[in-house]
Symmetry: C2
Subunit: 281 residues, 2 copies
């Protein structure tokens, strides 16, 4: 079977307006995963996911208890949330899709001299405890060989949670850094390194739109790599939302990927039949 890397958007794991008990979050994860049924029949799956709200919650809890307990740095918080969401997603895949699933703690190599460290642009957390952090470019998914070994054994692999744990290499040694890697760009790196056939970005909208939010907005059913590049130059796509997905799509196709599909979890089944979603190819 061909390999598809599916990126689950943050809102498909936690309701943007809910406080998010474990019970409610798990219910939402199960629902999202149930939409992958038709996909799981056609493709071997690797799942990536966002984790902004969950990392934000942990950040808040660290701040509130810092008089008693030392605050953990952001890379460690990333690893905690990979465990948390990985556990929930993996169990949902087994309970709902009846496929064996596994979560891999995944590190992503970044460059300490990346400009992002001078200009933090990535918002994490919710409401009053929102914080801007650096979002460096992912150079390489460090743990990709482990993911490959598991994919070969037909497991559904959950990897690169929250964009992966950002790590630098200095004198041959890895160490974590305070940053958050963009999930869509990390997904592209992973998909390209795995030589995946397809990336599927699951997000809040069923299409990518041209002139999004304007009266002239129209859904893009097909988007060529040339138009994608053109529209990116024209600032057609929202920062931190559709823009990184389109950038990642262009990069994936340039690196040999066959196809990218962007849609909502609810419309995925229709999209696979060509009746919804935006195909970039």
């Amino acid at each position: 079977m061909k390999l598809a890397v599916v990126a689950l958007g943050g809102n498909s794991l936690i309701h943007p307006k809910e406080r998010g008990t474990a019970e409610k979050q798990i219910k939402r994860v199960n629902k999202t995963i149930s939409h992958l049924k038709p996909l799981a029949r056609k493709f071997t799956l690797v799942l990536t996911h966002g984790s902004g709200p969950q990392v934000g919650n942990l950040l808040f809890q660290q701040k509130l208890s810092k008089k008693t307990l030392p605050e953990m740095p952001l890379d460690t918080l990333d690893s905690m949330v990979q465990g948390q969401l990985g556990y929930w997603i993996q169990q949902a895949v087994e309970n709902v899709l009846h496929k064996n699933a596994v979560t891999i703690i995944t590190r992503v190599l970044v460059d300490k001299s990346d400009n992002a460290f001078k200009h933090p642009t990535k918002p994490i957390g919710q409401k009053s405890w929102k914080k801007m952090v650096a979002s460096p470019i992912p150079i390489q998914i460090i743990d990709v060989e482990k993911i490959k070994a598991l994919v070969k054994n037909n497991f559904v692999v959950i990897a690169c949670g929250g964009g992966g744990i950002p790590v630098i290499k200095k004198v041959g040694k890895f160490s974590g850094v305070e940053a958050v890697v963009d999930k869509d760009h990390a997904t592209q790196k992973l998909a390209s390194q795995l030589k995946a056939d397809t990336i599927i970005f699951l997000t809040d909208v069923q299409y990518v739109f041209y002139n999004y939010g304007k009266s002239s907005q129209k859904p893009l059913r097909k988007l060529s790599i040339e138009n994608a590049i053109k529209y990116l130059k024209d600032n057609q796509f929202e920062e931190g939302s559709m823009k990184p997905k389109i950038e990642a799509s262009v990069e994936f196709l340039k690196k040999g990927g066959k196809k990218v599909l962007i849609t909502s979890p609810e419309k995925l089944n229709l999209a696979l039949k060509g009746k919804a979603g935006t195909v970039v190819e």
Copy 2:
């Protein structure tokens, strides 16, 4: 190469009397892992580890912020700490032992009708936020096939952190439960399911002692399975400390395991030469 499952005691990851910043904990993890060098030349390694203090810290943080954020249940906290410590340990193995390492979020099957749920006996946390929770018997390591696939590919696998995430199965579906599985018993289950040759329990003392803490105490250099059973009946070993290790040793040898070694990380090198540690066989 033969397979050894190495259980890292809680104190080998965090100093029992320190507040434990990430920096200090990572330093301690690196130190502990450095003691595995001679072992890593002779054996393929799977590492398990305790996580009591770290889960306790998370519990405390959840309580402190519960007015703003919903508290996560214990199984979810387990998954978070598996991510956290797995990340640190895996990076230490790569930086210090120069072996490729991978962390697997690991679930352990338990029985909802286990008596432990009526009589919580396991202390978690530190100082004022200590709490007693249920410690059911581990029936099976659910994620063992994934661990096998990675071991076959020569990765050092970090698994079963904190004894694994306790999960029950009901009408074919897994769900997490509020409990903590004993790390030593979970380590035995994992080692037996992996058909490992050896278990190595790394703990605070370099030997198992007979009459521990009394003036007549003496180190046990060799412990036969028969004497182990006899001494267990005589209550020679401390609950929650040496007792589960000896119980797990007996069970492992009965299930076909060849050898158990109990010692401290610092004495491991000497113990491998037969000059320290307690061998159960």
